[in-house]
Symmetry: C2
DNA sequence: GTGATCTGGTGCAACGATGCACTAGCAACA
DNA sequence: TGTTGCTAGTGCATCGTTGCACCAGATCAC
């Protein structure tokens, strides 16, 4: 194992030149007679040859490694996503180099540049920044960039491919669900809303509120962290702090809240508990993302689920496969989120309505 | 950015040969006059030179990348650990290549070999297998291996460094806590116990039970998944299934359980809820690991915490720094876990004892 | 003044794969 | 028989760094 087989040895064993082996390896088989091809393939198998990645990259400038920049694998949603990306990439013969940006634009830029300089030409960037200016240099140099969790924006470079759920629709679904249960005081709970996906979720919330003939201005709101940027690890703290403020005895209490993601929702639930309230009875909570923990929570959390596995496959596919479209124009893939009904959402106390069926989870 | 500066250009700018630049870069400054050194350093800075990793690796066979093999970043504990490892590695100028083994020995071996073949010479392997036979070939070739979550075993190769908490003590602490609250029917809940850390936790549990004058054989137990291997993703399912079995109306119900990790504990809590029981009142639950979700849960989960950040730093330090000890003998670093008291553990119902103070979390 | 020793640095051949430019060999055609 | 055209495959320079082996020049001892 220490001494690796080189392309030369394979060539010698097959009775051809190294060039031919290289040609086969790189799919230049146009003018290769089947017999030769078989001899080479046999030699590769017999000797257990594996190309040296460093040499390949040095010579060609290319690499089989895929860069993945997520906000933080410490967050269960991104952890789960990273895992699915790895599975998908492995199936295509790629390694994954994982980086945590902590949602810091500067770290995003540094990582993307560093990956580029290491010869990595495909990156899945999980960002929600409105602009891609901070990485446009590298895109201009030819980086194949797939953004995740962020639909294409008008000013995006043409080559960028975007994969995301339709967050606007997600926000509407969540809010309509609560409206349908009879809630009329629904707050939207989020940390900073400057990212496009959060803004879209919020817009969806507003749209649904207004479509129901209510006014967003009348809804209880909480802006304690409005001006700040928050890492995902702090999402739970944000939710908890929001609960403390919104559910205070002297506050204009909402009967239900839409949380920008599950971690924030879980934090809110914890905060509600701090205030002596019972989630699902005193206040309904709906999350976003559909992480496993939502299912485990007490009460199990209703959530707008993102199809993580499917999205990971799509992202990897776009990042790895050579650009097929000759136009080179960027594409935006918008998947539709779906609501998973559990037990954190019920009709408000005042409404004497029957309990809603949950699609999953067991009855109390 | 596209055209990178090479060592030749730096050499030309500094008026020296490429060899001298290389010498400086690689710390062979023994016989270099300060003035020369400064000229080179200035040229490097002026031109913004960054060594080409592929060329370096091709030539030297070395790389600055650190391999990290975890069971699954989908599990919040490993996600959090991976994140801390990345932070620590970055501080030392290393990249991290992350792999998920799903606790499959074969995948562990394949990943370790592949990383080795890619020129990676330092790997942090998070495994709990009793034997390292499956990777001993690569260790023999000179791999610097740091195992995590698994104390050194008698048959380990001498060069392996092990970092872990003292799981036996952890098991004892958890169990003693419950015994101290007055519980006398305490079950240990785990998936397959074949891994050394799980076995150690279980032994700690047994030790504490017996030290209290009770018999392990008298404790309720559950072996539904005894023969199977379980990935971390399924940990919660295991806990839930255990709850369904152990808390069945006709069962010899425990009044408290020690879960092998937090995800299993959370699953158990969910299962208890399925059975109509209230955790912290009808049954006490203590977890292991100290993930953030434990703090968020309702009720907040008492847990035996692992000092993740410190352990990650240690692991990276050992993996990256050249072996200092001339003896080359493996070392085992055992950290002491600490219990974090929250609200999932109370005296059993029968015992008319006062409630225990929680060290964190807010009162109900 | 000659050889030995030391200092500070350089020359150059690798590492393993790539892919362009080239050609040996052969058939077809005039 | 000479020329052309084509097929199947090869030669070789090259990517950017490394580090051993070597060397020019200065200093020293006798």
């Amino acid at each position: 194992m220490g001494d690796r087989v080189t392309i030369q040895e394979v060539a010698a064993a097959a009775g051809v030149s190294a060039s031919s082996v290289s040609n086969l390896l790189n799919g230049r088989t146009g003018k290769m007679v089947p017999a030769t091809r078989e001899r080479i393939e046999r030699a590769i198998a017999d000797l257990g040859y594996r190309p040296n990645r460093a040499a390949r990259q040095l010579r060609s400038g290319r690499t089989q490694t895929l860069g993945l920049v997520v906000p933080s694998v410490g967050n269960p949603f991104w952890g789960a996503f990273a895992r699915e990306v790895e599975v998908a990439a492995l199936a295509l013969g790629c390694n994954v180099l994982l980086c945590n940006s902590e949602r810091d634009p500067d770290r995003e830029r540094r990582y993307v540049e560093e990956l580029w300089e290491d010869g990595i030409r495909s990156i899945i960037l999980c960002t929600s920044l409105p602009s891609l200016d901070h990485v446009s240099d590298v895109i201009g140099d030819g980086l194949r960039l797939v953004t995740f969790d962020r639909p294409a924006q008008p000013n995006d470079p043409a080559s960028v491919i975007s994969i995301s759920i339709d967050n606007n629709v997600g926000g509407q679904i969540a809010t309509s669900h609560l409206l349908g249960l009879g809630h009329e005081k629904i707050a939207f709970v989020s940390g900073s809303i400057r990212s496009v996906n959060r803004a879209a979720r919020y817009r969806g919330y507003c749209d649904a509120i207004e479509a129901a003939g209510l006014a967003v201005a009348d809804m209880p709101s909480w802006t304690g962290f409005g001006a700040e940027q928050f890492g995902d690890v702090e999402a739970a703290q944000v939710g908890r702090a929001a609960a403390h403020a919104l559910l205070a005895p002297d506050a204009d209490r909402p009967t239900a809240i839409v949380a920008v993601n599950d971690m924030t929702a879980l934090g809110f639930c914890r905060g509600a508990r701090d205030m002596g309230l019972v989630v699902g009875e005193d206040v309904s909570v709906i999350g976003f993302d559909g992480i496993i923990l939502a299912e485990l929570y007490d009460p199990p959390l209703t959530s707008v689920r993102q199809p993580i596995r499917e999205m990971a496959r799509l992202a990897v596919g776009e990042a790895v496969q050579a650009g097929v479209g000759a136009d080179g124009a960027g594409r935006s893939v918008l998947l539709r989120p779906e609501i998973v009904l559990r037990e954190s959402t019920y009709p408000p106390r005042s409404a004497a309505t029957a309990r809603v069926d949950a699609t999953s989870g067991s009855p109390r």
